[in-house]
């Protein structure tokens, strides 16, 4: 089992959607929220996914298809 950490950002229109719940149902991954800030117009979460590495990859793609921005927990490391 792999554990991978991500910073997930929600577009405004997705704030009311239970996206993380849906991802947990659609893919064999267990999300664990460590920090989050969800407001009326923006929202982000720092999340750890536990699961098979390939399945986590698919879950990340699923998040992107739902309109989320998914980055490594370090955010942008290219300098």
């Amino acid at each position: 089992m792999a554990k991978l950490r991500f910073h997930i950002r929600y577009p405004e229109e997705k704030i009311p959607s239970p996206i993380l719940y849906e991802i947990g149902k659609e893919y064999q991954v267990v999300p664990s929220i460590r920090r989050a800030d969800v407001r009326e117009t923006t929202g982000w979460m720092d999340v750890e996914f536990t699961g098979e590495a390939d399945e986590i990859d698919r879950a990340v793609q699923g998040l992107r298809q739902k309109g989320c921005m998914v980055d490594p927990i370090e955010l942008n490391v290219v300098e």
């Binding site: 991978l4 460590r34 955010l75 942008n76 290219v78 300098e79």
Partner: protein, 413 residues
């Protein structure tokens, strides 16, 4: 040498960790930074001791996150602080200074500061291989320092990077890895590799130490001003880390009694084509929205800045401001700095000077304020940004008469 590092501490929840190669809090995933024993440091760090130290950033070793005395990057830092009288006169400022990291060694950008610290610490932690994800200055510096230290080096770059930038790495013979993808792909892959390999990724798992190198810009500024903090500084922002560390550097000197007081306004500068932090500031938000970068200031083109939140907090705490300039303003400002002070800065320098001009016009920086603008890289690295706007040489036949005619000089009798 005293034991100055106590721990790594989470900037969010305060949980402490040993001073190892970790960068994210296991509990809340917040970023880690070095916690120092300031009481112990205060016993040994004085103005006199600093002044008698080497002419490099290592004169401030008591406030840097290394344990030994076998340093890598012996020539980084202690760059000139230029009293910019001509540019000051143009802008209406009596006390403008340029902190000129165009001439930082060995690779002509401020990155030599952070990399000197990162590689020294990496070797202390037992690493033999160093790595980074970069599009320019950072890769150059890591490659050069690794070569001089005899360490293995991997540099990860996007596959479509300009040839000149690739060459600037290859000359030092690191393993340059071009990723078939864009910046985001490089970013993601490097985070994954950092989790897999026991390598020192300077801006990932060594980041808590690496970032501390930026403090030396503040230390040097204060010393070179005659042991005082400036009234205003203007700092370019990519991840936002540099701005927060300059503030931290001044405050550390104040805490240790090396400076009597610090009332510096910390101002941040970005390019309009990638200004998530400056935009948040202008809109009065305490959070930023990520952007897709599109600017000639590529060394600042980080659309999802890791320290953006902390940079906003620093500006608020110090009562500073932030603003952004267009690509045209960047080019004009590069030329202005070159033509008034003889300093050829890279595009990030154009961003700094452009925003300095804006802040003066807005009345945020006053005529008598002691103001320092940080120029973080050399213009020879980004010549393509100005090549079409600097004119052409005069071309004449090899004759005195043509020369005199071309320049309308009166012939002598």
């Amino acid at each position: 040498m005293i034991k100055k590092m106590q721990s790594l501490v989470c900037r969010e929840c305060g949980k402490e960790y040993p001073t190892q190669d970790i960068h994210v809090c296991e509990l809340c995933f917040g970023p880690l930074e070095v916690k120092y024993d300031y009481a112990a440091i205060k016993q040994v760090m004085t103005r006199e001791k600093i002044a008698s130290g080497p002419h490099s950033l290592w004169r401030y070793v008591d406030l840097l996150p290394v344990e030994g005395t076998h340093f890598i990057g012996l020539h980084a830092g202690f760059t000139p602080l230029v009293h910019a009288k001509n540019l000051g006169a143009f802008l209406g400022l009596d006390n403008l200074y340029i902190k000129n990291d165009c001439v930082n060694h060995p690779t002509l950008s401020f990155k030599d500061r952070v990399v000197a610290i990162a590689l020294t610490r990496a070797r202390e932690l037992g690493f033999e291989t160093v790595a980074c994800a970069s599009t320019g200055n950072l890769a150059n510096s890591v490659s050069a320092h690794a070569a001089s230290a005899g360490m293995k080096c991997y540099v990860f770059i996007p596959g479509d990077l300009e040839a000149a930038k690739v060459l600037g790495n290859l000359i030092y013979r690191p393993n340059v890895v071009e990723i078939e993808g864009n910046y985001d792909d490089v970013n993601r892959l490097c985070s994954e590799i950092a989790g897999e390999r026991h390598w020192a990724f300077v801006n990932i798992n060594i980041r808590p130490y690496y970032a501390e190198g930026s403090k030396t810009l503040a230390f040097e500024t204060a010393e070179q001003l005659g042991w005082r903090a400036p009234d205003q500084v203007v700092v370019p922002m990519a991840s936002g880390s540099l701005l927060t560390k300059i503030w931290k550097g001044f405050k550390e000197f104040e805490k240790l009694g090396i400076l009597d007081s610090v009332n510096t306004k910390i101002n941040g500068a970005q390019a309009e084509g990638c200004s998530p932090i400056a935009t948040a500031f202008r809109e009065g938000r305490d959070f930023f929205k990520p952007v897709k970068p599109h600017t000639i200031a590529k060394s600042l083109a980080i659309g999802n800045p890791a320290d953006g939140y902390y940079a906003l907090k620093t500006a608020a705490e110090s009562q500073g401001a932030m603003d952004a300039v267009t690509d045209d303003e960047i080019v004009e400002s590069i030329k202005l700095l070159a033509q008034t002070e003889g300093i050829f800065a890279e595009t990030a320098g154009g961003v700094t000077i452009g925003v300095l001009r804006k802040l003066v016009k807005q009345g945020r920086i006053q005529k008598s304020d002691v103001t320092v603008a940080y120029i973080t890289g050399n213009g020879l690295k980004t010549q393509e940004a100005v090549v079409d706007s600097v004119g052409r040489p005069f071309r004449i036949p090899p004759s005195l008469s043509h020369f005199i005619k071309t320049f309308a000089i009166e012939e002598s009798a």
